[in-house]
C-alpha cells in the first residue's frame, strides 16, 4: 500500500472523513480482515493508559504579591514544592510529602496526602493554601507569605512529567516470607499474588514499539486535556529484551516526557494516589494517537494481549538489590485471566493500571479526532528506538574525596 503522511491524515480529520479506531478495536479488525486491509482502511489508532506514574509534577507561576517575595521555600497544602527557580515559580512533585508525615515510622505508612493529591485538588478547583518563605532582598523585600490560591487565579500551571507511560512493566511477585509494601502494591509472601501495571494491548508505547510515529511534538490526551510529548522520558531504554520463543520482538523500556496545560485537566484523569508502605504519587491518564502511515505501523499497533509479554520480577530479593534476571515471562492475556503459573505455583494476578479507564481514554481520543477537534502533531524529531543502542547506566558508590579537602 501507499504510505500515508501526517498531513494527509490531518486533512481527512479536518474534512470529517478520517477512519479512527481504538487499539482494542484494531486488534479485532486485524484478526478478521488481516493487516493489509486494516492498514488501508484505518487512518488513526487510539491508545490509552491510566496508572500511577511517580515521575510527574507541575510547575506554577503564582503572580506577585505586595510587597514582592522571592520564594526560598514553598509549601502547597503543607506539601513542599521546589523553589529553586525565579521568584514566584515553583515545581511540585507528585511524590512530595508534608514534613509532618510519619512516613514509614509506623510501617507500613499510609501516605494519605502528597504532591499528587495537591495536583488533584488543584484540578478539582479546590482552594489551595500557599505558604512561602523568602530571605528578603532589595527587590523582593517580603520574607513570608501565607495565602490561598486556585488554579484559575495563577498565571501558569503546567503539568510536566519527566517519565510517564512506561512501554512495558514488570509483573511483580514476592518469593520471600513476609508481606512487601511496594510501588507495585501489597505483595503477599510466598508468591501470594502477582501485580502488573500496563494496559497491554491498549498501552501507548506497546503499540508503536519502534517509535515510528511518536516523537517530540506528538499531540496527546493528557489528564483530560491536550498535551504533548516533549522528549523521551527518563530511563528511556527501548532495547528489545529476551522474550519467549515465538513472541514478536517488542521493545520494553521506552518512556515519555509529557507536558500540558493543567488548567485544561480534570480530577477524573489526574488522581492523587497512596501506595501503602511506599509513598504518595499521581495516577495519570494518557492517550496517544498512532497514525497508520503504513502496514508496519498497523502490524505493531494490532498486536494482541496474547503476544505482549511482561517479565515476572521478584521484589523480595532481585529488585531491591538490582539483581539481573527474572522468573520468566507471562503474556497480558494470561495476566488478565486472573491466574498465572510461576515456579509451578498458580498465583492470582491483579492490575494496578485501570483497563476500564484506559479504554475510556482511547474512546474519548477517538471521539475528539472524529469530531475534528484534535489534529495529529507531526513529530519534529522521533524518539530513540531499539537501534539507538541505549543501555542503562548505574549509580556506583564511590568515595567523593571530600573528606580530604
Amino acid at each position: 500500500m501507499a504510505e500515508k503522511t501526517f498531513a494527509e491524515i490531518n486533512a481527512k480529520i479536518r474534512a470529517g472523513k478520517a477512519v479512527v479506531v481504538t487499539a482494542e478495536e484494531l486488534v479485532q479488525m486485524v484478526a478478521e480482515k488481516g493487516v493489509n486491509q486494516a492498514a488501508k482502511e484505518v487512518d488513526v489508532v487510539t491508545t490509552g493508559t491510566f496508572a500511577p506514574m511517580c515521575s510527574s509534577g507541575a510547575y506554577f507561576n503564582f503572580g506577585h504579591s505586595v510587597p514582592r517575595i522571592k520564594f526560598c521555600r514553598v509549601w502547597l497544602n503543607n506539601v513542599p514544592a521546589y523553589a529553586g527557580l525565579a521568584a514566584v515559580d515553583a515545581f511540585l512533585g507528585a511524590t512530595a510529602l508534608p514534613e509532618e508525615d510519619p512516613l514509614n515510622k509506623n510501617h507500613p505508612g499510609e501516605f494519605r496526602y502528597g504532591g499528587g493529591h495537591v495536583i488533584e485538588d488543584f484540578v478539582a478547583r479546590k482552594p489551595i493554601s500557599l505558604k512561602a518563605l523568602g530571605y528578603g532582598t532589595d527587590c523582593y523585600p517580603r520574607r513570608e507569605i501565607e495565602t490561598v490560591v486556585t488554579l484559575d487565579e495563577v498565571n501558569e500551571a503546567v503539568l510536566f512529567n519527566p517519565r510517564n507511560a512506561y512501554q512495558n512493566y514488570n509483573c511483580a511477585v514476592n518469593t520471600g516470607a513476609r508481606t512487601l509494601y511496594t510501588y507495585m502494591g501489597v505483595l503477599k509472601a510466598h508468591l501470594g499474588n502477582a501485580h502488573y501495571s500496563t494496559s497491554g494491548q491498549l498501552s501507548p508505547l506497546l503499540k508503536d514499539p519502534y517509535f515510528r510515529t511518536i516523537g517530540v511534538g506528538t499531540r496527546i490526551f493528557l489528564g483530560g486535556g491536550t498535551g504533548y510529548v516533549v522528549w523521551n522520558g527518563t530511563q528511556h531504554f527501548p532495547s528489545i529484551p529476551a522474550l519467549p520463543e515465538g513472541a514478536p520482538p517488542v521493545p520494553a523500556g521506552g518512556t515519555l516526557a509529557v507536558l500540558g496545560d493543567l488548567k485544561q485537566m480534570s480530577p477524573h484523569w489526574l488522581r492523587g494516589t497512596s501506595m501503602l508502605g511506599y509513598g504518595a504519587t499521581l495516577s495519570v491518564g494518557i492517550g496517544i494517537p498512532i497514525p497508520v502511515l503504513n502496514e508496519e505501523v498497523c502490524y505493531w499497533a494490532s498486536r494482541p494481549d496474547s503476544e505482549l509479554y511482561a517479565p515476572v520480577v521478584d521484589y523480595a530479593e532481585a529488585y531491591p538489590n538490582r539483581r539481573p534476571g527474572n522468573l520468566g515471562f507471562v503474556s497480558y492475556a494470561e495476566l488478565k485471566s486472573g491466574r498465572i503459573l510461576i515456579q509451578g505455583k498458580e498465583v492470582p494476578t491483579a492490575p494496578l493500571s485501570s483497563y476500564v479507564k484506559a479504554r475510556e481514554i482511547s474512546n474519548i481520543l477517538k471521539q475528539w479526532i472524529l469530531e475534528g477537534k484534535f489534529l495529529l502533531g507531526e513529530p519534529v524529531q522521533l524518539l530513540p528506538g531499539p537501534d539507538a543502542g541505549i543501555t542503562p547506566k548505574t549509580l556506583e558508590i564511590r568515595d567523593s574525596g571530600r573528606r580530604n579537602r
Binding site: F50, A51, P52, P108, E110, R112, G185, V186, K188, H190, G192, N193, A194, H195, R271, T273, S274, M275, L276, S283, K336, S337, G338, P348, T349, A350, P351, L352, S353, S354, Y355, V356, K357
Partner: protein, 133 residues
C-alpha cells in the same frame, strides 16, 4: 463484655487445624458461623457469632493459636467516585468480595462476601474503601 460477633483471620499455617472445635469443647461456647472462607495452606477468614460465659477466654485461646480476632461492628463501603477500577485490591481481598469482572475489567464489590477485615481500606491506592461504623 466480649463482643458477640467477631471476625477471625487464620494465617495459612494453621488454616487446616481444628480450632473452632475447641471453643465448643473446652470453653462451652455456642457458636454460629456466619461466613467462612477457609482453605488448606491459605489465609482464611471467618465471621463468628459467639455466646457463652467463657467467650473472652475462648477468644484469648484463639489469639494464642495465632488467629487474628476483631469485633464485627463495622461495614465496608466503596466510594464509587474515588474508585478508578484499577484492581489493586482484588488479589488482596481474602474472600473475593472485591473482584474483577472479566473481560471488561470493572472492579465489583460484593458486600455480602465482605468480612470487614479492612485490608482493602489501606491497600486501595485511591482511598476509595471506607469503614462505616
Amino acid at each position: 463484655m466480649a463482643p458477640s460477633k467477631v471476625v477471625l483471620r487464620f494465617p495459612a499455617a494453621i488454616a487446616d487445624k481444628p480450632i473452632i472445635f475447641h471453643l465448643v469443647k473446652d470453653y462451652d461456647l455456642m457458636i454460629n458461623i456466619l461466613k467462612a472462607n477457609i482453605n488448606p495452606h491459605k489465609e482464611g477468614t471467618m465471621v463468628l457469632d459467639v455466646v457463652g460465659e467463657k467467650t473472652e477466654a475462648g477468644l484469648e485461646f484463639l489469639r494464642r493459636q495465632g488467629v487474628g480476632v476483631q469485633p464485627l461492628t463495622e461495614d465496608i463501603v466503596r466510594n464509587e467516585e474515588r474508585c478508578t477500577h484499577c484492581g489493586a485490591c482484588t488479589a488482596i481481598c481474602p474472600t473475593g468480595a472485591l473482584y474483577l469482572d472479566r473481560p471488561a475489567m470493572f472492579v465489583r464489590f460484593d458486600s455480602e462476601a465482605c468480612v470487614v477485615c479492612q485490608l482493602c481500606v489501606r491497600a486501595c491506592p485511591m482511598q476509595a474503601m471506607e469503614v462505616r461504623f
